[in-house]
């Protein structure tokens, strides 16, 4: 018998949008299965800029979008409190940004209802001493800094608790279309290599920049203009407030404090495909040059990592790309549009509006299934929200209070061994990169120099003890990030029935984990290696090559679920126009 699953609603995509659709739909009593081809947040959601928009950025150009932002901003501060740091935001007028824009901006914010107060420049500089002292005006708005990794996990956890099944490392390879109706999808389990069918009354395509590819499986054209944005993390929290340039949105005009770092971004470049994304030398230089205008000297600081994400900008018909394409959400009813029933696409939008996007999608699902069930997400905090807003010192505080120093395996990001072990048990882990997203492993200044080896050793010890297998019952995103709440390793329930959500295979080879993670990290750092980071990189080479001889281990020639994914050229390129 071929395996298959039956469900009411199949959600494709494990980003902010897909997890929220699963959450919303299961709260409304639907049976839901979500499939994500890799790890949660592996798409754009894990590569965004980290800004919980107040709406200020869109106030002048897109008042409707701005209104959605401020409304959702208020809701997410309740439902996902612990995923948000209440940094506040400034819109600053630099000597380059004079003109009437600042006044139009203020008027638009007032009109839309975005709290916006002009504050004395001196007051802004007192709060953010590294800011450009030549600013002429500063406006304060309720921007925030958002952890999209934790948020997606928490949302997925909430969905799970409401009965949804979350299948990571499951890729949709085809839609099953029967008589002009999508009735489910063929799904490939990346970990085991098996393929099976999921049948559903409704299929919701929330595959972000990949929605066009999914729709094409049903013979439908959805025009997505992939627009690439590159961001750079600086090794300091140079600011504690989100800093926006007060002008029409352009490249490199936002600086976001995020955990231990600050992130400058972004560019906006139309690309043919959502992947692979190359980070160009000019993008790095541009971000640094623009960053200098906000924080003089930023380009001289130590740069940790560069990454790129791709905006899923939707267009009815092609008219040109980039910043002028609407960032509004797009809900496509394919029955009404193309006569293909059982199938919706939800894309576009922003991270800030993911809940609203899900609400719109599931409202439409109810309409299609002819049931009336109101949306409950706006009033339902996800697990963990009771902790209140994130604050920077939380890990250090717990580590010091509970004397966990000797447990740390990533000193840069204060990750303890039990946090790592529990993350593996809480969530299918096929690559060390999954742990980077789960607990910030290797995101600090040494970019994994020490913790990579330790994590490989620990995962191997877990595998030997039979404790590697994730335990769906243990899934608990609320405390994924907390050293204090992970004092003890979770015990694994090994007798439970096999579940589709769990990779049903032997744990990955430690040697491949090591090799793939080293290559993965190379991708993120090669574009920004110079100065101190170049030396750091050499130290890490000394450790992994000279000391460990890690490039001469058994299995070196094998492929893994992620090896093809990590191998592509991310090294600095000659400028096309140079």
């Amino acid at each position: 018998m071929t395996k298959h699953l039956d469900t009411n609603i199949l959600v494709i995509g494990g980003g902010a949008t897909g997890t929220a659709v699963a959450w919303d739909a299961s709260l409304r009593g639907f049976k839901v299965v979500l499939v994500e081809r890799r790890d949660l947040t592996q798409g754009t959601t894990g590569r965004f800029h980290g800004l919980l928009h107040s709406g200020g950025r869109y106030a002048v150009k897109d008042p409707h979008g701005a209104r959605e932002c401020i409304q959702e901003n208020r809701i997410l501060r309740r439902t996902h409190a612990h995923c948000i740091e209440d940094t506040g935001g400034f819109f600053v007028v630099t000597p380059e940004d004079e003109g009437d824009y600042p006044d139009r901006f203020k008027a638009a914010c007032d009109e839309i209802g975005i709290p916006c107060a002009e504050i004395p420049v001196r007051e802004a500089l007192r709060r953010e001493p590294l800011l450009n002292p030549r600013l002429s005006r500063v406006f304060e708005v309720p921007d925030g800094s958002a952890d999209s990794f934790l948020a997606a996990h928490a949302t997925a956890d909430a969905a799970r608790r409401a009965g949804a099944q979350i299948l990571t490392y499951h890729e949709v390879t085809n839609l099953i279309v029967d008589n002009q109706r999508v009735v489910g999808a063929q799904v490939y389990n990346v970990a085991t290599g098996e393929t099976f069918a999921i049948h559903a009354a409704m299929t919701v395509n929330a595959a972000g920049a990949w929605t066009g590819k999914i729709a094409a499986m049903a013979g439908i054209e959805v025009l997505i203009l992939p627009s690439k944005g590159t961001m750079i993390a600086v090794n300091h929290r140079v600011v504690n407030t989100v800093i926006n340039r007060c002008k029409l949105p352009a490249d490199g005009d936002i600086l976001v404090p995020s955990h231990t770092v600050a992130v400058i971004g972004t560019t906006s470049v139309e690309v043919a495909d959502p992947e692979p994304l190359r980070i160009e030398t000019w993008e790095v230089e541009k971000m640094l040059a623009e960053g200098n205008k906000l924080v003089p000297g930023l380009s001289q600081m130590r740069i940790l990592r560069a990454w790129a994400g791709v905006r899923p900008l939707f267009q009815e018909t092609y008219t040109g790309g980039g910043r002028d394409v609407t960032r509004k959400l797009a809900l496509l009813d394919h029955e009404a549009r193309e006569g293909v029933a059982g199938f919706l696409t939800i894309t576009g939008g922003k991270w800030t509006t993911f809940r609203l996007m899900a609400e719109a999608a599931v409202d439409k699902v109810c309409e299609k299934l002819e049931v009336k069930r109101p949306c409950r997400t706006a009033d339902t905090p996800v697990p963990g929200a009771e902790q209140g807003h994130y604050w920077l010192g939380h890990r250090l505080h717990e580590v010091e209070e509970q004397h966990l120093q000797s447990e740390l395996i990533c000193e840069c990001e204060l990750v303890t061994r039990a946090m790592l072990e529990n993350a593996v048990k809480r969530n299918p882990t096929l690559t060390l990169d999954d742990l980077r997203r789960d607990v910030r492993l290797g995101k600090g200044p040494c970019q994994g120099g020490f913790c990579t080896y330790r994590a490989v050793g620990i995962l191997h010890e877990m595998a030997q003890a039979g404790a590697y297998r994730p335990d769906a019952d243990a899934w608990d995103a609320a405390f994924l990030q907390s050293p204090g709440k992970n004092r003890e390793p979770l015990s694994v329930n090994r007798d439970r029935n096999t579940d589709y959500s769990l990779p049903n295979t032997a744990p990955p080879s430690p040697n491949l984990l090591l090799r793939d993670f080293l290559q993965e990290r190379w991708k993120g750092i090669a574009p920004i290696l110079w100065g101190k980071q170049l030396r750091q990189e050499r130290l890490d080479e000394l450790i992994y090559l000279s000391l460990m001889n890690a490039d001469h281990l058994p299995d070196a020639e094998l492929t893994s679920p992620s090896s093809d994914f990590y191998h592509y050229d991310a090294t600095p390129q000659e400028d096309a126009n140079a």
Binding site: I543, L553, E574
Partner: protein, 445 residues
Amino acid sequence: MLDLLVIGAGLTGLTAAYTAAKSGLRVKVIAKGLGAMHWGAGTLDILGYLPGEEGAVKRPLAAISQLPDGHPYRLAGDVAGVLATFVALTEEIGLPFQREVGRRLTQINADSENLLLPSPVGAARPAFAAPVGQLGGDLSRPEPMLIVGFTGLRDFYPQLIAENLTRQGYPARAAFLPLAVVSGRRDNTAVSIARELDNPDQRQKLAQALRPLLKPGERVGLPAILGLDDHMQALADLQGLMGTAVFEIPTLPPSVPGMRLFRALEERLQRLGVRVEVGMEVTGANRGWRPETRDSQSPISNLQSPISIEWVETETSARPLKHRARAFLLATGGILGGGFESDVNGRVWEPIFNLPLTAPQKRSGWFRPAFLDPQGHPVFNGGVAVSPDFRPVDGAGRPLFANVWAAGGLLANFDPILERSLSGTAVVTGMAAAQAIVEHVKCEP
């Protein structure tokens, strides 16, 4: 006045200082920080891999002829002779490097084969010679290995090591001991445990805990923790108590074997009257002459013979200090040692003498796409080009200064990490450069 000021306190600077001081020169070593010795395995690695070739090098001295012209080993000439001097030095300082346990290393020649020793992930790492503490791990020996770790020690994973060794045909199994056996502290590193094992009582306790784990015929592999100051005795005690070979496997940095070597070399230098001052960053050189003005006041274009450096300047917390010497040896280790700087525009430069570097001056030329590319990354292959007597030269091969030499990781035309030649090239070029300096100083009036 000093005869020689060595800039850099890595293996290059220290062995050079030793060679020069032993020949009667007045020598001093100054350095910004500690060198790569504190990060590495602490073995003598001459040549483990040839760039672009898959398998490990079997006979490193014979393979030197396959290295490109201009490779530091090709310049040094009598590599075996210099290495023999280094081995004698390790005996002098009480940390003898050998190739077979208990056998003084007297013969170094083209037939000498690399050892294979277990690495902290259980790979077989090629090394030419090692401190005796690591030799019991020689993978050509038939005895199966018991690799013992400590629960809670985050820098050593015995199961991973044992599994990988076994998969490569070297039988090994793993076991754990509680950390409390060797330490009363909460937070432990290999260094803190090594300090504990300087105490003979702790060795007793360790042996007692180890004994029940051992099967007949096995040898015991431990992380490198067998004493810091009293290592040789700690090793002998433990082997005596256990009645079998006990060996160390290096751990994540800081490296205990590297620290031992540094401390012993430093002490030996002190007895020769050489001070090693760490915490001094050299920021510039010569009276009125600054690196950035080199182009306009080029020593080559303005003068018939290359100019001499009179002093270098260090930045200390109190005030800038001038250090005068008849000769200067630059041993600042290139990118790894902090001896080169680089920026976003792809510039790589040497900040003290502003020596020309062969590294590509464009970021697009620095790297290859795969981190583990067997050819390595071009930026790490670039450095200071020198004459056969280790003086930095200009593009035409003429010495840039009358009294400046360069050695070690900053040299051009090789990648010591890729080749696994870090300690070998450090020793060989450091000692060879020092020999050239001795001749120069002695010939001068």
